[in-house]
Symmetry: C2
Subunit: 337 residues, 2 copies
Amino acid sequence: MSDALVIGLDIGGTSTRALVTSLAGDRVGTGTAGGGNPTSHGAVAAAAELAKALSAALGAIDPARVRAGTIGLAGVARLLADPPSRAAFDRAWADAGLTCPLNLIGDALVAYASGTASPDGSVLIAGTGAIAVTIRGFALDRVSDGHGWLLGDAGSGFWLGREAVRATLAAMDAGHPLGHLATAVVETLMPPGTTGTLAGGRADLGALSARDKVDLLVQRVTRRPPIELAQLAPLVIAAQAAGDRTATAILDEAARLLTESVARIREPGDASPIVLAGGLLVGDTPLAPAVERELAARWPDAKRPRASDGAAAAAWLAARPLLSPPEAAALHARLFP
Amino acid sequence: MSDALVIGLDIGGTSTRALVTSLAGDRVGTGTAGGGNPTSHGAVAAAAELAKALSAALGAIDPARVRAGTIGLAGVARLLADPPSRAAFDRAWADAGLTCPLNLIGDALVAYASGTASPDGSVLIAGTGAIAVTIRGFALDRVSDGHGWLLGDAGSGFWLGREAVRATLAAMDAGHPLGHLATAVVETLMPPGTTGTLAGGRADLGALSARDKVDLLVQRVTRRPPIELAQLAPLVIAAQAAGDRTATAILDEAARLLTESVARIREPGDASPIVLAGGLLVGDTPLAPAVERELAARWPDAKRPRASDGAAAAAWLAARPLLSPPEAAALHARLFP
């Protein structure tokens, strides 16, 4: 076993990352490639990026030394249910010279394992969407939300962006002076020089009535795909930093909704860890501390680690069955110092 | 003036209704035709339905006796801004032999006038969408909401339907037994015999895991136009009648949001009337009394009449400038006994 290696891959919508490591935690190869989500990019394109990342990570390493490999990706159930897609992944694996079995798992489990070595716990992911998952014995147990922007994703980036526009429209309807957040929303959606094609023909923004401005703002949003509202989430974060009360209230409500989503599938008093993941909870955003406060109020004994390197987590999940529990814990500590 | 007549028309998405009345309130002709909303049906088709309703309402009446006419319709600003559409309406008017000017106004003002003869007040409309408007001197003053399902329409039929699905998904995620409302939502969206095409291939509903059922329910909604969620609003009303607590909470929240929308454009203590309009507030629904309670708490001195006959309201608005204030009040009382 001394020269045995494992490989882990984290395939996301915008990048694919691979890590080859020894069972002691020596990082012997890394690779990156373009986005490889088989749902959004097609399995063939995803498999091509997978091949690129594998080739870069393995380099001159004898692939026969790789004893186990794990790939984490979103929408894994759909991939496993589609034999041609699964075959494209298996082919890329074999073409890289890998002879160990390929283990495909969901991105939530990888995010979880990047934050903790505990077999049981929860992971809360907030990015464009939002989902909470409980893990039992390193397998998915229960799922809450992740229902998409129309019906769910409460507290997500989409939700923050939509609430920002809703608060702006409410202030405009009420004739209130626009605060930091509302001003940022208006300037982002209707930059200076914007013209409208409302009743009465085209008009400069400055020439529009208050109601016409409201209608134009609504049109600016509704003529684009709804999911693009997530692009406004940074405005809420910036406005909160500038002391805007509306932005603070929106973020507090997001933290409450995300915590409620966890509570739907997690017992009160559960002391297992809750991993925070996704761009809104691992980055330097005010949502993370707000969520921490809410989680601490409900589960005071639970640790709240942040998710980190997904490729390392996938590699660790590949290595775990080959190791004793203390060895697995030591490897996790080395990979996630 | 003794033989002078006026004509009023209410053009909605599904029907066009016309009324010819004397200035004393004698109804001398009525007509109906198909939906004529120029936004959804095109102005030419709308004008054709207008012609039909005019012809039926006028019958053998000498059109020269008609001294004034008003048409109320949704999206009137867009019609007025589009000369060919406006011309199609004017042509139908002239072809019916009418020589008086045609006054085109919005549906909110017509709904308002069908509930009160007061020149100042508010109207709250809740149907598929939701909007609140304040009226000053029988003209639109301020508007709140009406921002469409993605960004607004808080408390509307769409909102009720979406909340019904969201509450159902939350109960399914939590593994709670499904109550009256959630059961109705599942049976409506996934009737017995429903099969899914989720991970693992097609499966009968009964064979699906809890999570697969959640995913299938989300798919059933998201593969259809979002606005169709409004079709689920009656499930909330029926479940409330059956004592379902979730349905009651959703309706109470809708009433609160609708009232908040009014409050955004109406001063505290305003004693002018608030007309309730739209299918969710004039029908026999539990939303109307809930809204009445909320409105009464904020504006205890305001009457809360229900909207009624839109064609009669349009006719009254046409007649009003021809009458003294007491005559106008008497005509309103006769048309809306």
